[in-house]
């Protein structure tokens, strides 16, 4: 049953590097809890639970990208758009933990690797793109869709290169790293396009029904003075 494995399995990256990235993941998630609490109120908390559940569901939907190769949503950009970078990373990490602990997907010893790539790097890259693009693109459904699409593609490719770094540090087989990096970047660009379409559709739909529930819109549409462009960390406390 190898076909259902979606994340890094045990033994791909050696124990030492896996342990290092477990520490990296724990530290990063602790920072996300610390900063995310400023965002988490009575409304964002259940919404974040829904975002995690939705990402879990959509991760099950592999779509073909090349003959014999599929891909699935990772969710970092989607989470960053809907609930912000800090809580968003925690949403993706929740999904990865449930998958590893309950569905045997992604090794337990590799959980730190997977969380670092998909929850931390993927969400961070997605949010940086969102923050940049929403400031310059028109504040329309189309602008939001383009933002979601581009942020998703970049987020997925960055997450895949996180794995390349980990493999460079602790890969258990001697293989050409540039080849791995190139193959992964190529295939994840295609996966990112699929993820971009899903993310754009989802975020635009939520924005039409309940714009108040889209974190990125609350954050970047708020009329503020030019000097008050909020850093993602300000937590609204100006």
């Amino acid at each position: 049953m190898n076909g259902v494995a979606m994340h890094i399995a045990n033994g791909i990256v050696d124990a030492r590097v896996s342990a290092i990235f477990a520490v990296v993941a724990v530290v990063a998630l602790a920072i996300c809890v610390w900063r995310g609490r400023a965002d988490l109120d009575d409304r964002l908390a259940p919404m974040a639970g829904l975002v995690a559940a939705f990402i879990f569901a959509v991760q099950m939907l592999n779509f073909g990208v090349l003959p014999g190769v599929s891909g699935h949503l990772l969710g970092g950009a989607l989470a960053a758009l809907l609930v912000g970078p800090w809580v968003g990373a925690l949403c993706v990490a929740t999904v990865l933990a449930v998958q590893a602990l309950v569905f045997s997907d992604g090794g337990l010893s590799a959980l730190g690797l997977n969380i670092t790539n998909m929850a931390v790097l993927g969400t961070a890259a997605g949010y940086l793109l969102v923050a940049g693009l929403l400031r310059v693109l028109p504040k329309t459904a189309r602008g939001l869709a383009v933002t979601a699409f581009v942020a998703s593609v970049v987020s997925v490719v960055v997450a895949s290169q996180g794995f390349v770094l980990q493999y460079a540090l602790g890969g258990t087989t001697e293989l050409s790293l540039p080849a791995i990096a190139g193959t992964l970047a190529g295939v994840h660009t295609l996966i990112g396009i699929g993820e971009g379409l899903i993310t754009a559709t989802t975020v635009v739909t939520v924005a039409k029904v309940r714009p108040d529930l889209v974190y990125a819109l609350r954050r970047f549409r708020r009329p503020t003075g030019p000097a008050a462009a909020p850093a993602p960390v300000a937590g609204g406390a100006v």
Binding site: D41, A53, V58, G68, T94, V102, T183
Partner: protein, 134 residues
Amino acid sequence: MRRRLGWFLAAGLLVAAILAGVVSNFAASSPDGLDATAREGCTFDADDTITGGTCMLQKEREHELADSPLADYGIRGIDNEFLSTGLSGVLGVLLTFAIGAGVFWLLRRRGRPADGADGTDPAEADTGPPARGA
């Protein structure tokens, strides 16, 4: 407003449950981008065991919890694949929501609902619940 958030959450969970419970059965079954790259360079027999070559997957070890009742997005004991995948997906959605919403609810900022600036110091919540009675 609170009630409308409830409706939104219910609708969102329903969509997620349908995606994981029904649509998941029509998902592509070929290995994903990472897995396919990890298999590159090796040859496999019909049982998916490596028969030769060099690839990232060579030293893969089995999952610690490979015997989990929900391992590999199925439910052990249910032979109907459609039912097994679908039910495991719905369970996963509910479980992820319960854990996510539960943890985020415990972590949330207490006090007045936040509309713009509020005076709540996040540290306040750490000092425990307000003294009862007095």
